[in-house]
């Protein structure tokens, strides 16, 4: 059986960033012990159903999981290791925000078993950090990067670019400064206006203007160039890594593997007896908490996905990866012959246009193709 990835969601943040549509909430107080117990409860609930399977990774995401007590992370890691077969070098990632308070806890998280840190730097420019509504400044960001690098064997950080008014030269300089501090992995996201966020309102009013597609495409190209200077290669649309340092956890999503998702709003996909079961949990923290206390879990939806939906999911995730997709795997995960998943004329057209290539039996989006994936998928997939 495929190893499982385990995602654990911590839904709390110190403040809501104006661009963010993640399931994150600001609360005065969080009952740390209660939450630890509840997360453990859901983890046990799922483990009882899956049985003892090999574990591929653990990922603490959010929200801001660095606000969690390191003890809680430790308890969850220990429980996961007890319930599943975990290798010694199990990848255990924690997302952290680079405020000084959180930076101070990093050593404790490491002691609790976290071996990979993902820092939400977002920008190294003071004005940009303010614009993004972040709780940290550039100095704190750099300090957190340095602390993180000293403590964790593996370090990744996130930056948001293609911000209003950001020039290519400024972005290259900013990225280089961050890379100088060194990391083995980067998530570099172009700013996206998500519906329902504060930025969406400002954008609708014309108060925020994003770079146009041509400019965004140029910035994307520049990003890859800068990352490459430091030996980081794009392995997914927005993710860059030193070969071998890719996020094993996120690769499970993109390869449409099996994963458990614990905590408010977490999603999960598991192949069970040929059926692909999708699970979704209640998003609201308090409601999630109450349901776990009552029922031992907060699942609000559990469905076996239709083969076409499985094929679409597998392809839309897989084509984001530089390694592309293996037709046999699409069939294994969807139950459909590959030919039934893709429109043959559009496939030819995309191959002719060099948006797609076959590489050693795998269908891959080229850099040009990856840049246009949202336009390509609806015409390519059946």
């Amino acid at each position: 059986m495929e190893p499982l990835a385990l995602y654990i969601h911590w839904p709390f943040c110190r403040a809501k960033c104006p661009y963010c549509d993640f399931n994150s909430h600001v609360r005065e107080r969080v009952d740390q012990a209660g939450w630890r117990h509840a997360l453990l409860t859901e983890l046990r609930y799922e483990a009882a159903r899956t049985g003892r399977r090999p574990l591929a990774s653990i990922f603490f995401g959010g929200g801001t999981p660095s606000l969690m007590d390191p003890e809680t992370a430790g308890a969850l890691i220990a429980e996961a290791r007890a319930l599943f077969d975990a290798p010694a070098d199990l990848e255990i990632t924690l997302e952290a925000n680079p405020t000084s308070v959180e930076a101070a806890k990093l050593a404790d998280f490491h002691a609790a078993g976290v071996n990979r840190l993902s820092l939400g730097i977002q920008a190294l420019d003071g004005a940009a950090l303010q614009f993004l509504g972040r709780q940290h400044d550039a100095a704190q960001a750099i300090a957190a990067l340095e602390t993180g690098r000293a403590i964790f064997p593996r370090l990744s950080f996130d930056l948001i670019y293609a911000r209003p008014g950001q020039t290519e030269a400024a972005w290259r300089a900013e990225l280089r400064r961050a890379l100088d501090i060194a990391a083995d992995h980067l998530s570099l996201y172009q700013l996206t206006i998500e519906p329902g966020t504060r930025f969406a309102t400002l954008h609708a009013r014309g108060e925020i203007a994003l770079p146009d597609d041509d400019a965004a495409a140029r910035l994307y190209g520049a990003t890859a160039e800068e990352a490459a200077r430091f030996g980081l290669l794009p392995y997914e649309v927005s993710n860059y890594a030193r070969p071998g340092a890719e996020s094993r956890h996120n690769l499970v999503y993109w390869r449409y593997g099996d994963y458990l998702g614990i905590g408010p709003g977490a999603h999960q996909r598991l192949l069970v007896d040929g059926a692909l079961i999708a699970v979704r949990r209640h998003r609201a923290p308090e409601e999630w908490f109450a349901r776990v206390a009552r029922d031992g879990h907060a699942i609000v939806e559990e469905t076996a996905l239709a083969p076409e939906d499985r094929a679409r999911e597998a392809l839309l995730m897989g084509l984001r990866l530089t390694e592309g997709i293996d037709p046999a795997r699409i069939t294994a995960r969807s139950g459909l012959p590959f030919a039934a998943c893709i429109d043959p004329t559009m496939l030819t057209a995309c191959l002719d246009e060099d948006y797609l290539v076959w590489r050693e039996g795998r269908l891959c989006a080229t850099e040009e193709g990856r840049l246009r994936l949202d336009a390509m998928l609806p015409v390519l997939l059946r």
């Binding site: 649309v237 996909r269 999911e313 336009a375």
Partner: protein, 601 residues
């Protein structure tokens, strides 16, 4: 109310050029006679269609019955018909005129006589109307009542010495209008004892009452329960309700000679109500019908297709109901290779086309594709056969065509002297031939013969823009002439789009071809692949543009396990694609079709 003595009835239309204040005057007449309670009053009360209110124009003629206690102490029944000013709705005006004995000719005292003033007043004169000139908007500083009176006399030849000077906006001298109606317009004539003869003026579909018919009784009585017959087809119906407009429909026992009102009779068949028909008593039918109306002749045709092929039934039902309410709208079934089942629809102009399309989408919830509008060509084939071409896509191979004839119009353009130069240039560019050029003061009146095809698309917009809105324009269709015409095909991604092919004069072909390619380039959003756009005559490409591929379209973060959300987005995108038209590997949104042709400059 019903059975009012004839000499206490006045039926009149309010006619004018666009925006000269017809509907506002109607408001004041309704208001000052207390027809509508103050709290229910609003501006342009009779413009009750959503589209009319949005655009501030009248599209449908409307009837209201008002009661007026005149200075002579008598109470009169006044039936007022507010009419549209735009040339595309002239058929509404002509039918209203046929239902009345008199007209109020409203002229904006600051603008003076305009093209539609002329067109409408001549129609009223033809209908033997008594006409009362009204000078409106005298509240405006720019009003020049004396000059405009002179103009009415010079241009129209109508005595304007007794023109009523008013401000419909402020309500100034509305009393003067009411008195003029009573004292200067003739009462209707008719015989209450004769057998029933009523003119079918208009009809529409009401979701509660079914088909509602607007009638003007000439002779006899129209009564609830009466068995009536439509003289054009012999169909008989039992009247369920008769009534009047206040402007709300209010039931009455009967309608007598000279009166206007409505009737309902459980009429199911749209074909049973033909405007201009004579309604008579089924048991004692009249010997002869009323003269009726000249049928309207559509000047522009286009195909209307449901975006979703499953909506064809709904479209069939909807065009029928719309036709009931718009007798100048014509339709016939049509099939297109690219678009499936639909209707070829005829209109009085491009505004009319746009309004019908809007009404179909709003009132009936239809999502439609419109093909390029076209005028009606007459083809003489080499074998002697003659055919009418409503759709350029149906054009036979040029080798079997001996001659193509196109419709011409006679246009009247009124424009201040200062802008005459550009107006004449525009007419000449459009292959116009000057018939006459006269002056009234500093206003020129140019009469031109023009090919309709040159006018139908953007002539009016261009005219307005080169004259800063000062030129006015009216036209009548004026015969056919042979012309050097070619069919231009538009190819998107190397595939012909029949819906976009059009006819043009050979001398204009390059320019039109180029301009539509340029427009399409602007209108079609960039896609995954570059899209070549070509215009061609037969196999010869006369213009080409390329829409480059979009440069970036990808969601930056695809983070976390919520794949369902991304899949649902994809599902939605795929659903959206169904509503587009596929050309090889690219899709065109329907809006590109009409927009491209409309703004051909």
């Amino acid at each position: 109310m019903p059975d009012t003595p004839l000499d206490h009835i006045r039926n009149f239309s309010i006619i004018a050029h666009i925006d000269h204040g017809k509907s506002t005057l109607a408001d004041r007449l309704i208001q000052s006679t207390g027809t509508v309670a103050a709290r229910e009053m609003k501006e342009q009360l009779l413009d009750n269609m959503e589209l009319e209110r949005e655009r501030g124009i009248t599209i449908k003629a409307q009837t209201v019955r008002i009661l007026y206690k005149a200075k002579d102490g008598e109470t009169y029944t006044l039936n007022l018909m507010d009419t549209p000013g735009h040339v595309d709705f002239a058929y509404e005006v002509s039918r209203s005129l046929a239902a009345c004995e008199g007209s109020l000719l409203v002229v904006d005292a600051s603008q003076g006589v305009e093209a539609q003033t002329l067109a409408n007043v001549y129609q009223a004169i033809d209908a033997n109307h008594e006409i009362v000139p009204i000078l409106n908007k005298i509240d405006l500083p720019a009003a020049e009542p004396a000059r405009v009176k002179q103009q009415i006399e010079d241009v129209i030849g109508l005595d304007a010495s007794d023109a009523v000077e008013i401000s419909a906006k402020t309500g100034l001298n509305i009393e003067g209008v009411l008195e003029a109606i009573v004292t200067r317009l003739p009462p209707p004539q008719g015989d209450a004892k004769a057998t029933l003869k009523a003119l079918l003026v208009d009809s529409w579909y009401d979701s509660y009452l079914g088909v509602v018919v607007l009638v003007r009784v000439k002779d006899g009585q129209l009564r609830k329960g009466q068995r009536v017959r439509m003289m054009s087809n012999g169909a008989a119906h039992t009247i369920e309700q008769v009534g009047i407009f206040t402007p709300k429909m209010i039931a009455a026992d009967s309608l007598g000679p000279g009166e206007m009102g409505y009737m309902t009779a459980a009429i199911k068949m749209v074909s049973d109500t033909n405007v201009g028909d004579t309604i008579t008593d089924d048991r004692a039918p009249a010997a002869s019908a009323l003269p009726g109306f000249k049928p309207s002749v559509p000047v522009v045709w286009c195909g209307l297709y449901p975006v979703d092929a499953d909506d064809f039934e709904k479209l069939r039902d909807s065009v029928g109901k719309l036709r009931l309410n718009d007798s100048s709208f014509h339709y016939e079934a049509e099939t297109s290779a690219a678009l499936g089942l639909g209707y070829r629809c005829g209109f009085l102009g491009l505004l009319h086309l746009e309004i019908v399309q809007e009404r179909l989408s709003r009132e009936f919830g239809l999502d439609l594709i419109a093909t390029a509008p076209s005028v009606v060509y007459k083809l003489k084939k080499t074998n002697g056969e003659e055919i009418e071409l409503h759709n350029p896509a149906d054009m036979p191979d040029p080798s079997v065509i001996a001659e193509i004839q196109e419709p011409w119009i006679k246009a009247t353009i009124m424009v201040p002297d200062d802008y005459l130069g550009p107006v004449l240039t525009l007419c000449n560019e459009r292959r116009g031939r000057q018939v006459e050029l006269t002056y009234v003061g500093n206003r020129a009146m140019a009469m031109y013969r023009l090919p309709l095809n040159e006018v139908v698309f953007d002539f009016y917009d261009r005219l307005k823009s080169i004259s800063r809105g000062y030129a006015s324009f009216d036209y009548q269709v004026d015969g056919y002439e042979a012309g050097d015409l070619v069919k231009i095909s538009i190819l998107v991604n190397a595939e012909p789009v029949d819906a976009l092919s059009f006819m043009a004069h050979r001398g204009q072909a390059d320019r039109r071809g180029r301009s539509i390619c340029e427009r399409l380039k602007e209108l079609i959003p960039r896609q995954l692949f570059k899209i070549p756009i070509q215009a061609a005559i037969g196999g010869r490409v006369i213009a080409r543009e390329t829409i480059s591929a979009l440069s970036k379209d990808v969601t930056a973060k695809c983070y976390g396990g919520d794949i369902s959300r991304k899949r649902k987005l994809l599902d939605k995108q795929k659903e959206g694609k169904k509503r587009m038209r596929q050309f090889g590997k690219v899709e065109i949104p329907q809006s590109a079709f009409i927009a491209a042709l409309k703004m051909d400059a």
